[in-house]
Symmetry: D2
């Protein structure tokens, strides 16, 4: 089972079309990935940067918007790593409201030593954590 | 006891000073007031507008920033109405992290018929709800 | 020459890594596409919705993040339509700071009658405008 | 004449009431204050922090919302310091669209040595700059 991250959609997330403004959605997906780290590591990007000198900047994102979202239901984001490379990681984030699949996103991050912003393989502990959570391809 | 609204502070809410960026804080307070409505009325500003033709635009806000905030703790916002006028309402929102009082805000909204954006006293049901929740002055 | 949209990057757009937070970047790209409409049509999505009952919701976005951005330089976004279908349009947005290519994005929108949120081919005038601005593939 | 900062209001700044969402407005005012620094000092909060180890965190804000804003006009923010203390500064930001006074805000910041986040009087050069720009009380 992937990690599930709940987000409360509010009035201010919506635009005059009375649905969530598109540009908010990548932010929801990133909050969900950050939540995955917090859940599994005890701290998100903030703690990873300050306490472990570890950063995971994004190099790619792709999202399909499948159904409009509104504040009438909580947004549930399913988050899972789908691939771990030497110094990179792929994520899948699926967004659901009331059982409806609203968006699907794919993200690629690289691991860096935060203080110098230079690529570096993640520590063994984090490598092991991720490998234990990799999602098998659907189908 | 006032309504307590929990907010998950994240990396993206922080600025290069490694604390929450000031301009995010009014948004947290508004999310908390919206949460008060959702908790007490079964729907926030979105449902009030679409289902009841009722709006509560802000005419004033004042905030004191008492301590910096970070993602290390959840933000707990205490929300309470403090005054109900014929067509207006005052709110207090206090923000706390790990027991530390981080900000205190005061807000004034007016009640409008949303479809025409014209001042109008709130329905009796909502008037009664608010009157039952008015916070006595501290001290 | 594609339309060039200038954005002032500020402190609040940056995260504790002292670079622009990833989740702000899709918003910059969307502001730039909105600016293309404003430049060519005399009004952006707001005026298209309210004055022409025309919406262009996003169904897809993909971005590559090529270099970090900071407030030290203005962000220049090049925007061009790259394909016009019966009821859809593709956009390219390239982001540059001080001559450095910082991100490249691809976006797909569909045309809808805004009041009913149903797919509909764009008016002939808008079709002609877009066709005159389609960017030839690079290379 | 106070510094005038132009902001392009867009679709994504508006909520389902088809006006700018209240919680965006403090951010516009802060961007305008940051623009004042950029205009007068050659760099905003980002450069002040990284290049001069100088921060100006906010301790208070108060805003009156006088008229709704939309994307139909540029937002012009007038910015001026109104008082300089030993380690603090007050700002006024007035927001205008098409000649209509939309909001008026008052802000108080303190000067800190950024690396230690401790109060400190500003450098003489900055003190002199501000004193030369203090706005006389209206009336």
């Amino acid at each position: 089972m992937p990690y599930r991250h709940e987000i409360r959609i509010a009035w201010g997330d919506c635009d005059p079309a009375k649905i969530v403004y598109t540009a908010r959605i990548p932010g929801f997906a990133l909050d969900a990935i950050n939540g995955w780290w917090e859940h599994h590591l005890g701290g998100g990007w903030f703690q990873m940067d300050l306490d472990r000198d570890l950063g995971t900047p994004f190099v790619h994102m792709a999202l399909d918007f499948l159904a409009p979202m509104t504040p009438r239901h909580r947004l549930i984001c399913e988050v899972a790593p789908t691939r771990l490379g030497e110094t990179s990681i792929d994520w899948r984030v699926g967004g659901y409201q009331d059982g409806v699949h609203c968006f699907e996103g794919r993200f690629t991050c690289v691991f860096v030593k935060a203080s110098v912003f230079a690529k570096e393989p993640p520590p063994a502990e984090i490598r092991a954590l991720i490998l234990g959570q990799i999602e098998a391809p659907a189908g």
